[in-house]
Subunit: 449 residues, 2 copies
């Protein structure tokens, strides 16, 4: 009985899977915030290289992964698919629980899967520096690593509350040779305006995105990189689902439920998208995204056009949103605190191809502790959401079924959060219907398709 | 060209390799601190189970690994052997550099390789709790993990300076369900006596060992566990060398230099001991141990009988020692701050089968940064010593030679040390000849063989 499935280097996927041409209903296009017409590719070229803009809109099902990218991904990929037998035993599961271990990357999460190609395509386009935001720090670490691999500079705007609570992240980012600033910062016009109105602002992902986009838009040698949400990010993350599909096939296993946590949606989508064709062919596979009650985008948001950031610099995208001004409660899974979600993922949920479920952080940390004390490894608070979802799915499953979740990252730089949990200091957050409705009023009044 | 060699689960070694019967000159026995006669096994049984005492003195070349131990080791083993091509390129090496990656265990180092069997044999002997010391925290984390796997309690005495500088380690230990106290503590007679004479004592490994041994000796249901030095610890660590030997054979490669950092000596010995028979058969393989100038046991210590701890509770063991009262400078590689070394390793060095080399911490952190910025992964400060050794060995090697080092652990819980390095705040330490001589005066006056 296998406990772990390794792929050899030669079995690493050579192409990403692009779901766009396989979607039964086409994706609603991003809109220009001024004209409300579909965004022209050249508008995006102020902050993205053409290769990524093409991937964003590609109609090709499979897209080659450049050799230079494969070489860097090969520093840790392929990643193993692992059977969590001791966890199964602890919860009395008659279903098998498998996890795809993306914590083994240099940055400790799935994020380098897209950071590496993004750095590569920008380098190739003559860009010298990338600017980005980071919440809990996973994405900032990943992009710092990727930029160093291609000898590029990197500037990270880190949500101030995380910057202060997780100092180790900043040190690691600097050790890779990147620069990191707490956001709101005095480095951008938008950051200065935020500080002027509230000098003690603890920041948010939406604010940090605005700063990074402004930095990129105002410097010729600098582009912007986003760690989730966009189509090309999800495309790059399909390498995890493609590997998982191979690994399950090697075991002769058909998955019954695929699970991931959802912040912007890229790790969950990376796992499930390569199984969309199977599902469309009639195979019974549930796609289950897990989010926090403190930021219930898929479970309580509205599916409509909204801005991606607080400063309204981004195109309008059609997604489940809580309103671009929504300020999620300060839970410890900082990577899940985003008011929207990836359009592709929202599209799947809207059309009934994927489901979502929300949990409170206390029960999520309980699940993390159980995983730690049975399987031995410390998950990131974000990842712990997927674990909680997998535990409940396994308990509800038929004997012999297979629950597969994406283990998106380790929690070794989140130990202050575990300290709060062990001391019994975690608070759970939910919102009354009224406050959700209020936040949604900020969305622009645009009809979808 | 392979970059990584994975073994399948079925290729994991089923036996440990015991070097004792293969040593050309027999090892000097541990002596009773009162009588100066060889220690009787039953004396050790106050703090160790008989199964481990038997392994300590076994004449069997191969010893079966119990199934229950293999199952837990299987949570992360076998570990990969990785080619560091980008590091090679950065230093212009014409030799190949390989590393055996022991950072992938739950505790993040090689330490669980022995923590798991130690917990298992104690559990089988009816022991309810294990007590131990930890310096940088790697061993305390590993034993906490191992005890949880066998539903045992665990008490960790952590050197106070590390406890305060590395709070994340303590949180992780507690998350595994263990208890952890800064040492010297008020939990033991010896700890209280230390605090009485110096209430602000920052502690040392020697002091923490004394506390853990006292705890075990004064509680019937409690035994002591040591993370290095002892023969049975090195025995358990041979699983890394046995795997490496298989992996190199799969590549058709004969190693030219095997390298590891040396604190107590267990990770280095685990790598090299399975190659001792090759060396005795005449194959040219260098064994190179790397230690800090701030604790130069193998390079400047004397090979003689000494105590393992400050309180003189342990048997006398013949080893390279700086004197049991030696207080190493507060370098960041806390795991290398021990006044002695494993008797087996010292024996190899004394008889010319192994060599040692010392480095300053600034050059070691420079090597760590180069590794991080080329291979992507953050090494522990201890591991960085091996990296520095490997870089210099590769530079000096003939084209086509193979340098193999043990990547003993990650540095994700040591980021405060990297912060000090990046800020230029690291100090280098060395000792004048006189101070070494002075510290050695504390050794008991016993002739060796």
């Amino acid at each position: 009985m296998a406990n772990r499935v390794n792929l050899s280097e030669s079995e690493m996927p050579r192409q990403w899977y692009n779901v766009l041409p396989d979607l039964p209903v086409p994706l609603a296009p991003p809109l220009d915030p001024q004209t409300h017409k579909p965004v022209e590719p050249q508008v995006l070229s102020a902050i993205f290289p053409m290769a990524l803009i093409e991937q964003e809109m590609s109609a090709q099902r499979f897209i080659d992964i450049p050799d230079e990218v494969l070489q860097i991904l090969g520093l840790w990929r392929p990643t193993p698919l692992v059977r969590a037998r001791r966890l199964e035993a602890a919860i009395g599961s008659k279903a098998a629980i498998w996890y795809k271990d993306e914590s083994r990357s240099p940055a400790g999460s799935h994020k380098p899967n897209t950071a590496v190609p993004q750095a590569y395509y920008n380098k190739k386009a003559g860009i010298r520096r990338l600017a980005t935001e980071t919440g809990a720090g996973q994405w900032g670490t990943a992009l710092s690593f990727a930029c160093k691999m291609f000898d590029m500079a990197c500037t990270v705007y880190m949500v101030r509350v995380s910057y202060e609570h997780k100092p180790y992240r900043g040190i690691l980012i600097r050790a890779y040779g990147a620069e990191v600033f707490p956001s709101p910062s005095d480095r951008t016009r938008f950051g200065r305006s935020m500080l002027a109105s509230d000098p003690t602002s603890s920041g948010s992902l939406g604010v940090a995105i605005s700063e990074a986009v402004e930095d990129a838009a105002t410097h010729n040698d600098t582009n912007y990189a986003l760690g989730s949400v966009l189509n090309h990010v999800l495309l790059h993350q399909t390498i995890t689902g493609l590997e998982t599909r191979k690994q399950l096939a090697m075991l002769g296993i058909q998955p019954d439920v695929l699970i991931g946590c959802v912040g912007g949606g890229s790790n969950f989508a990376g796992l499930v998208l390569p199984f969309v064709p199977d599902k469309l062919e009639g195979k019974k596979i549930r796609f289950l995204g897990i989010e926090p009650h403190a930021c219930p985008t898929l479970t309580r948001g509205e599916f409509r056009y909204d801005y991606g950031d607080v400063a309204r610099l981004t195109p309008l995208i059609k997604m489940h949103t809580l309103g671009h001004g929504f300020m999620p409660a300060p839970i410890h899974a900082g990577g899940l605190r985003y008011h929207g979600d990836a359009p592709i993922l929202c599209h799947l949920v809207h059309h009934g191809l994927a489901e979502a479920k929300a949990y409170y952080q206390t029960e999520v940390f309980e699940a993390a502790r159980l995983f730690l004390q049975t399987e031995g490894f410390l998950p990131a608070p974000e990842t712990a959401h997927a674990i909680k979802g997998a535990i409940d799915a396994a308990k509800a499953a038929e004997p012999g079924q297979n629950v597969v979740f994406l283990y998106s990252g380790h929690g070794l730089l989140d130990l202050s959060s575990y300290d709060a949990f062990l001391r019994g200091e975690l608070k759970d957050f939910a919102y009354p219907e009224e406050s959700i409705k209020e936040a949604l009023k900020a969305c622009p009044d645009i009809k979808g398709d």
